[in-house]
């Protein structure tokens, strides 16, 4: 079994933790030893959130070392840059086109960088950068809260696991009234990523 290290990052309230919980269960059900840990602390109140998910034959540390993440899954543009150093050279970056402006960027002391600048930093490590139109997908499926499911769909295209394993977990977790839009969100995440790969 190949070890898989996924760093999921974003802002408090975006559903990063739920996505990483799902990732962990999917890994466990696929027979991996799994550890996952979040750094949030006071982050429920709008701070930066990072979740480490590790699948392997035997996992010791729950945290991923800098330079060791196979995947950097980012729910917010500037958060991608914040955690870029954790990405393995040549690793995969999946970014939602979501901007959440921090208070610190309001005064002008820390202007919010544009995507091209952020991308430039990421390109020092990898060319595999996928910007997912998550906002548009959320609107299309009528469920903006499904951002985390869009991102799971995107990630699933890189992992050698049966799609049903992902869908099963979504079916278990999502309340009935959001199930249809969530499944659609997953598939749209898959499609967008596949189309970018070609």
């Amino acid at each position: 079994m190949k070890d898989v290290n996924v760093l999921m990052v974003g802002v408090g309230g975006q559903g990063v933790i739920l996505a990483s919980d799902a990732m962990s269960e999917i890994g466990m059900n696929a027979g991996y030893d799994v550890k996952k840990t979040d750094s949030l602390g006071m982050a429920q109140r709008g701070g930066s959130v990072v979740s480490n998910v590790r699948w392997g034959e035997k996992v010791f540390s729950p945290t991923i070392k800098k330079g060791e993440a196979d995947f950097l899954i980012s729910f917010e543009e500037v958060e991608t840059a914040r955690w870029a150093a954790w990405l393995k050279p040549g690793g995969v970056v999946i970014v939602a086109d979501v901007v959440v402006v921090p208070i610190s960027a309001m005064s002008g002391a820390f202007p919010y960088p544009d995507w091209e600048e952020i991308k430039g930093t990421l390109q020092e490590r990898t060319e595999k950068i996928y910007l997912i139109p998550a906002t548009r997908i959320g609107a299309e499926v009528g469920n903006p809260k499904a951002l985390n499911i869009v991102m799971m769909g995107a990630l699933s295209t890189f992992l050698d696991l049966d799609t049903e394993k992902w869908l099963d977990d979504i079916r278990k977790k999502v309340p009935p009234k959001f199930l249809d839009s969530s499944l659609q969100a997953f598939h749209r995440g898959v499609e967008e990523t596949r189309s970018m790969k070609h």
Binding site: V11, G12, D21, S24, E25, M28, D33, V34, K35, K36, T37, D38, S39, L40, G41, M42, A43, Q44, R45, G46, G47, S48, V59, F60, S61, P62, T63, K65, K66, G67, E68, V78, E79, A81, R82, A84, A85, W86, L87, K88, P89, V101, P102, I103, S104, A105, M106, S107, F110, P111, Y112, P113, E117, I118, G120, T121, E124, R125
Partner: protein, 601 residues
């Protein structure tokens, strides 16, 4: 059966399977989820106690009464509960009692960092520390057996990374039914700590720890792993996992009984390897214990004493000590070219604390003096704002920047009284939340009345314990599982303490709050303002969002001083994000040009 469990969930399930019938706690990150996991389990009594001291005292009562009991708190909670903790170590127990301390290395969500392993040695009680969720689950059963066999509380120490890390756990047991019936065995010799009895117990405590020293030698979860004999690593807790990651071929002694340590096992391990090091988070607890055995050992020379460890830090230490020649993994090379705006936690859009803190900044801080980390003299009319532990502590950050002190639960009131009685020329105001007031503000307020203080206490009453995830407290009457029960009436409590100048105002009416505060500050008797408004996160409030009428906006940016996450400058204009705005109307009251209005639907 395999389950994915956080350390906290594993502790809860392990304790439940060990037959625990009684659990008490005060919420505190990273410990909160333990009680919440246990509450719905069948046959459990659970309570959010008013504070950790009471939680432990209630727990002691239950354990004296023959019910296996778990008492849960964060590291600083054990400071509050230290008095009954030492008392319990002295009396011993009837049924097993385990005290969980969840430490927070790196202060993810705490006002300070401390290594609570010292408490085990200090109170002369055994301590267990898991290295992952599996061990947390497995150890809990043994913790209760130790407690009963040795007539002692057991300190069970977790850390943020153990409590909040999810791992695959083999859940092998079911709830034990082999438990005695509740019943108190009357014995003043055992339970009444008058000096004559306490002296007898004091001797028993030393005998107990001596017996434990022998007993831990055979503890099956301490594990010796012999690989390359050049280096032997002694470790515990999550640091063990990091060390396994870094020293791939070394020999290991993993200790879960970290007080007392198994001396002979350590000696045996040291004899097997050429060099012994200790990798542990925070203080050199194990290192000192090992050194006392006369073994040559190092650790804190190269492993930091401050903050949370991780594999990178352990690796850097190992390189520094010459234990590994170079980084064994690809190093982090990318240094971001972009300036990344910091994203610190902030008060939510519509947070009920924002209005009062905005007014405190306005009244209490000279607008002509720029905020600076350097201590400065206060000007004549400024007010000292002593504060406390809770979401509202976030008001220390700009643009609110409205707080002067925050030390520990309930301290705001004492600070204010102390400043006043010391004779400083400025007035002072104490600010704390409803849950914190219940936890340890009541005594401070009684002291204020007793000392004829002229101070003002603002209780920000959002009717919950918000920061830790909306737990109930005596002022709300809400139980762990969310049922409404009898409550302590805040106004009557404050009046009963002797406060005559009591005011209740809405947090959303800035003018009323400001007028009341000005009057209370000038009043020569102690006063209380209950500033009331629900936690928007809990109540999921959504009134009519506001928008900026760009024709009226004069770009003074006064509204940005509110520090609301819904307001930002985008395309060089002040904009309000209607998806984020809950319509509290605070910014509207702040705007001098009436440019902020209700959104037209």
């Amino acid at each position: 059966m395999k389950q994915l469990l956080s350390g906290n969930e594993a502790i809860a399930l392990g304790a439940y399977h060990a037959g625990v019938g009684f659990a008490t706690a005060y919420p505190g990150t990273p410990s909160t989820e333990i009680l919440q996991t246990m509450a719905p389990m069948e046959g459990m009594y659970t309570e959010w106690s008013i504070n950790e001291k009471v939680a432990l005292e209630v727990g002691m009562g239950a354990a004296y009464g023959g019910v296996r009991t778990l008492v849960i708190m964060k590291h600083v909670g054990l400071n509050v509960a230290a008095d009954p903790f030492f008392a319990l170590a002295t009396t011993g127990t009837n049924a097993g009692i385990v005290v969980i301390s969840c430490d927070d290395p790196g202060e993810h969500s705490s006002q300070g960092e401390q290594d609570n392993r010292h408490f085990a040695k200090f109170a002369k009680v055994p301590m267990l520390e898991p290295t992952d969720s599996q061990e947390a689950y497995d150890l809990m059963d043994r913790a209760f057996k130790i407690s009963e066999e040795f007539d002692t509380p057991v300190l069970f120490r977790s850390t943020t990374r153990i409590s909040h890390c999810k791992c695959t756990v083999d859940v092998s047991r079911e709830r034990t039914t082999d438990l005695k019936k509740p019943g108190f065995l009357r014995s003043s010799a055992k339970y009444v700590m008058v000096p004559s009895n306490a002296r007898v117990h004091r001797v028993a405590m030393e005998e107990r720890i001596a017996r434990l020293r022998e007993w831990v030698e055979e503890f099956p979860l301490n594990e010796m792993i012999l690989n390359d004999r050049k280096l032997g690593v002694i470790s515990s807790g999550v640091a063990y996992q990091y060390a396994r990651e870094v020293f791939k071929n070394a020999s290991f002694l993993k200790l879960v009984t970290t007080y007392p340590i198994p001396a002979n096992l350590v000696r045996k391990f040291a004899a097997e390897v050429e060099k012994v090091i200790v990798v542990e988070e925070l203080d050199p607890h194990l290192e000192e214990e090992v050194r006392l055995l006369g073994i040559e050992v190092s650790g804190k020379e190269f492993i930091p004493i401050i903050g949370e460890l991780n594999p990178e830090i352990v690796e850097a230490g190992a390189v520094k000590a010459g234990l590994i020649s170079e980084s064994v993994l690809p190093s982090a090379v990318a240094t971001s070219k972009v300036t990344i705006p910091p994203r610190r936690p902030q008060l939510c859009a519509g947070c009920p604390h924002v209005g009062p803190e905005f007014v405190l900044r306005k009244l209490g801080f000279d607008p002509n003096i720029k905020p600076s980390p350097t201590p400065r003299e206060m000007t004549e009319n400024e007010i000292v704002v002593t504060s406390d532990i809770g979401c509202y502590t976030l008001g220390v950050y700009e643009p609110l920047g409205a707080l002067d002190t925050c030390a520990c639960m309930g301290a705001s009131i004492g600070h204010s009284t102390g400043l006043e009685k010391a004779g400083i020329p400025n007035k002072s105001v104490a600010v704390l939340g409803d849950s914190t007031f219940m936890h340890s503000g009541i005594t401070g307020l009684a002291d204020m009345v007793y000392k004829q203080s002229e101070g003002t206490v603002i209780i920000l009453d959002n009717s919950t314990t918000a920061m830790t995830g909306h737990q109930g407290h005596p002022g709300t009457g809400v139980s762990v599982t969310g049922e409404q029960g009898p409550l302590v009436n805040l106004e009557k409590l404050v009046e009963g303490i002797g406060i005559k100048d009591l005011n209740v105002v809405s947090v959303y009416d800035l003018d009323a709050f400001e007028t009341t505060l000005k009057r209370c500050v000038e009043n020569a008797e102690p006063s209380v303002i209950i500033a009331r408004g629900p936690c928007v996160l809990r109540e999921k409030i959504k009134w009519t969002p506001r928008q900026v009428d760009q024709d009226l906006c004069v770009e003074c940016h006064d509204c940005l001083d509110v520090g609301c996450p819904a307001i930002c400058i985008w395309d060089e204009k002040v904009q309000i994000d209607s998806a984020v705005c809950v319509g509290c109307g605070v910014c509207e009251q702040v705007c001098p040009s009436e440019a902020i209005v209700e959104m037209k639907s």
